[in-house]
Amino acid sequence: MVNEYFDLITYGGNLYYYIFELANFSVLAFLVLITYKLGFININSFIAWIGIFFSPFLFNYFLFSPFLFGDQFTYAYEVMSLKTTGESYEHVGGDGFFGFANAVTLSAKILGTIPLPTYMTVTSLAFANKFILFITFLWFKRFFNNENEVLLYFLIPSLVLYSATGLRDTLVMVISIIFIINLIRGKLILPILLLYPLLVLKIQMFAVLAFYLLGHLIFQAHRSKNLFTFFLFTIFITGAIYQESILDILNLYRVAFIAENFVAEDGTIGYSAWALYGQENRADILLNSMPEAIFLAILKLPILLLIPMPWNWSNLFYPLQSIESCLLIYLYCKLTLESKIYKDYEFILLTFILVVGLGLYALIMANEGTFVRYRFSLYYPFLLALLYVCRQPKKNIDNINDKKLLN
């Protein structure tokens, strides 16, 4: 069932909303039950996933207005339009950059293929996201002996929150997880294929993971100190040669994010306010050299990792996210120290790429709410990858790499 009149009626929070969305919940709950009965998950996962599937009811229209993440409606419009007419919604349609598919359209196409009984409200997409996350859990947990430990990583509050909204963050995270894990396992075809959806859905993620692929596949930087050093050396040389182009791109995003959140003295906001009043400050914002960019990234990285700061807390979620930020950093350090893998080059490359990605975000960071979300989308796949690296017997990963080398 699809709501063909979504542009007229969104059933926001009324009885019909609960009727339609309970159907989606029931189907997903049934799916968990079947997987439990078939022995794919244990009892703890069964109970936890029933709770996770119920979570969309706790966010949109209950704890906050769906307009807090207003983009949800854009995806919902697109899904409904594609499902009812086969064409893009008029306000969304069109190609993305460089003639690639539009990010909204591709997200809508992926979310729309999930076999849910009803696509009537904006929260239906949240259930589609939950389904995708559950399948990812089933796939990911098979690499571990302790299912409960994996389950805990799927109960991280931000993950529960973002997957309970109709945004594309879950898709980006899931694709990134599959990408990184397969790359570490030495299966290269899937990561190469996944670069395309990543490019369309989130170009920043594409840049970071393409960089990782390069380091892993071409430079084999995860194998030894020398190869990693060679990789680093090449990056510095390339960075120096293409300094201007890299800075141009960084400056473009830096200015764009600041302009998006610019508030003029007369109360006008956004790009129009920036065009009128912000241009005079443009020169102060621009990065002029690579050393300056690296220095600034190092300075702002701790801020990015710890936002939202206490003086910016404006609702209940902010302190929770703040605590969670600290816990996630602690978790990364704890996993590393516990498994004593800090000398393992698989870990060093993984962490290096994560730091580079976070450094890029630190450089272009403007709006706290947006960057808390961006940071999590980047951090979480790397955290799961670290868990994978830590929990796999080192022999396994080495064997994979040796086989690859022999071939």
């Binding site: 069932m1 309970l22 709950a29 306000h91 009803t118």
Partner: protein
Amino acid sequence: MNYIKKLRLKERIHVLEDFFYEYIFTKRSIYALGISLVFSFYVIQNSTLQFNISTTLKDGAQASEMRTGLGGVAGQLMIGGGTSDGGSFGEFKSNMHSFALAQRMWQQGWGSKIYGNGDLDEEYFNKIPKRQQTSDRLAAYLMGYDLNKYYSAHDLQSYIKSNYAPDKKTRGSQQIIISTLTSDKEHAIEFMNALIIETDNYGKESLIQKSNEIIASTFKQLATSRNSSMSSALSSTINSEYFKIANLDNDMPYHIDIIDPPHSSEYPVSPNITAIIFSNLITFFFLSILFSFFLKNKEDLW
């Protein structure tokens, strides 16, 4: 082969078979389906029908430009012509959502038709008692401020803003769509018609007033001007303003052209009967299975 063995297909098919007979093919499931139908009919019976009332207009920006765009120097000197970037649409939308327009609609008795019994007596519609929510009354009592006792043009303005939002069909398109959902088709069509016409009239009257002011002040400047080129420019301005008034002072719409007059959808948009019955069937059926499962496995689960 190893992989297939690992899947333990036979064993799992048996589990599914047992599961089917134990939880799905039971009396409880049939009862659940029955209850879902009863509940669906109850919901449908108590639903309010919502029809879609819509109209398609055309942004009159280009036409207005042609009507008002005369006189080279005059055109440049002209202050605040009828159109600017954003076109007539922006002006039309802000006029529609203005308090001044709500006041005009209120004076015509629309407040009475929306909040009261439709009596057009001014004494009646200015005294329609306003029912406040308990939470609002409690807040007002605790914090010591007064709530409005009667409905006013402010309420009508909020009503218009929340129910009648003109929107361009696509970015850059000339077509403007206004739509609303209502249970009273006739009233909504009548109100939408009146709202469009009154918005346009209000816009035209404002422009006429502005033109008259420009003419009066330009005449004053003309009387004191000793420079022939300035006098010529000022005369052109006066001419153009008179021309504008002539264009505006008629019954034709100015900011917009009506392509499709307000009309109602044949079928109600809400409730979606099929979706309600289908959703309830699924919910009751699957929740009954879950319920049976919880009952039989209470001890394992806790």
